[in-house]
Symmetry: C2
Subunit: 355 residues, 2 copies
């Protein structure tokens, strides 16, 4: 029985400060100069607060990769033909995509979800079908979807997240696939952050200058045609978003409601995080920013969310590839907190500044 969005938002509580304080105190007893493992130390303390466990363990890891098509592809804003979305879903299921390789490397399972690929995907034992519709409408002309579809997409994401908990889920990463989805994400990002379109629009899969100028014009037209209301994240998602963006926002909210750390991948996941944090500012405390994407709007989205990325490797593939690498860093951080010897255990003298 899936929780409604309203129920899920109501279940999202602040971090457990007591678990964080216990974790912080333990960090300072471990055989290293205080703070010398930098972001690893902070991350383990954060995960303690998220899970409520002062020595959290990460064993079960999943990347949820959601695919959908975008009507705005008709405006020629991508270098790739639209059928690539469905072809890449098959590639995910066959294990040959970037996310498959990187998820295997870090010991995470990949959960592939069809949120609305044009033509639909053939049934496959590894594919979750949560299709909302055969792609969104062209946002340069009309709203991407109805308000009900936006709600359905988010609730589908909550359902996917909750169905994964039964299989074991100590951390979850988000990922996306959808030709045209950087265009939708830039539109969402412009509305939610209040920044000019040109500042949050990038080259996607590799646009040249004049193609980028065209993409900016398409997004500006989409905002003018649709007039999304920045104070109503569901309206923003419906007017200029995408089904996978809504689904990923649902995954994030579901994770927060269940006290599971959620690793936000790149720009498309960042747009979903803006929607999710718009619906629940507290949910943001459960987000871990995986990496800083090359895509122009991503830095703006992370700044708006108040998140610092763990990695900066000039990546811009999506699929959850950045999230996979960051999940491994998060696991390393929790192992440091859990497994390192204390000064007392190891018989190592403490700093002259301590005690």
């Amino acid at each position: 029985m899936t929780k409604s969005l309203t129920e899920t938002l109501g279940a999202i509580k602040p971090l457990n400060l007591e678990a964080m304080e216990t974790a912080r105190r333990r960090q300072d007893t471990l055989t290293k100069p205080q703070g010398s493992l930098g972001q690893l130390e902070d991350l383990a303390i954060l995960i303690a607060g998220i899970t409520g466990n002062p020595r959290p363990k990460i064993r079960h890891k999943a990347i949820i990769t959601m695919a959908a098509d975008h009507g705005v592809a008709a405006e020629g804003i991508s270098l790739y033909p639209q059928e690539v979305t469905g072809q890449m879903v098959l590639n995910f299921l066959g294990g040959g995509a970037g996310i498959n390789v990187l998820a295997r490397h870090v010991g995470a399972r990949v959960v592939v979800v069809d949120m609305g690929v044009i033509g639909g995907c053939e049934p496959h034992s590894g594919l979750l079908c949560k299709m909302i519709d055969f792609g969104t409408k062209n946002i340069a002309r009309e709203p991407a979807m109805s308000r009900q579809q936006a709600l359905d997409a988010i609730e589908a994401g909550i359902e996917v997240l909750e169905s994964e908990i039964a299989k074991g889920l100590d951390i979850v990463g988000t990922g996306d696939m959808g030709i045209g989805n950087t265009t939708a994400s830039s539109a969402v990002c412009a509305v939610m952050t209040g920044k000019p379109v040109v500042e949050v629009t990038g080259r996607g899969t590799g646009l040249r200058d004049e193609q980028l100028t065209h993409k900016v014009a398409v997004i500006e037209k989409a905002l003018q045609v649709n007039q999304p209301n920045p104070d109503d994240p569901l309206d923003v998602l419906a007017r200029v978003g995408g089904f996978e963006i809504g689904g990923l926002a649902g995954v994030m909210l579901g994770a927060a409601a269940n006290r599971i750390p959620v690793v936000i991948d790149g720009f498309i996941s960042g747009a979903a995080a803006l929607i999710a944090a718009g619906l629940s500012p507290t949910a943001r405390e459960y987000f871990i920013a995986a990496h800083l994407s090359v895509e122009a709007g991503h830095r703006v989205a992370l700044e708006h969310l108040g998140l610092t990325a763990l990695l900066n490797l000039r990546m811009r593939l999506g699929e959850g590839t950045g999230a996979a690498l960051a999940i491994s860093i998060a696991e390393a951080a929790t192992k440091v907190l859990d497994e390192m010897a204390t000064f007392e255990e190891a018989g190592v003298s403490e700093s002259e500044e301590v005690g």
Copy 2:
């Protein structure tokens, strides 16, 4: 039979450009927009050039962590008492230190080497003894070691590296332990880069402002007393270096001579890399910079070496902890190159810009 430094320097050849070109061509056939995995793509191509294998595989991984004491500790430049060096060696051997946890996480073995800890270390099946002397002399008063000891330290590092090859070694990371070794490293860095001491000296394990001012003064005195010759890296090592710094330089040169990628940890490893690259500019092509340390001189050292760090997690522990995390990134990069499906294999349409 260990190679001499001269033989090792003579064995260091440029990267294999043919293997790199084959790897680069394969990257562009994989199911991702060209270049979209950023530094992961570049890193796999580099490792192809290092190993000469256009589809390199990383299976056997080691971190070589070298420990030694520093006479300059007598000047009060560290918060920790000098016995911590030997105590931490025991912690490494017991598996409770940061490097043990992170090396286990990435599947790398830790090779612990005593290069010259005061009092010596008890024999232990997990410890390699390459002691040059019971710690260096106090560089604020006299040279750290003789020129012969500097050569011995480097050749010991070459020997350690070569003895690990028999156990399987596809990539090696460097690590250090030694109370006082940021002071020696800042001295080496100032001489080798020509930068003022104040620009390359940091807080080490956590000095306050006035303690940092004292540390800078000690290093300036060491340079004035010893007058190291920047054009003679062996002289720099002998006058203001350390036994673990020399040993790590030897590990780096040995790795380059054997076409093994070497992942340079933080600031102390960076100082060793300056010595190694000073002896063989070609060796630098075999170096992968793990992370950007908080320690002030590290950025200067990396810039001088022309290296870009993979990670920036505000770490400053040393031991090889940054190298461990970066080895996992390097392994991921080679798996992407080797395991991802091509557009043709996966039946995915290529970009309209291609072909």
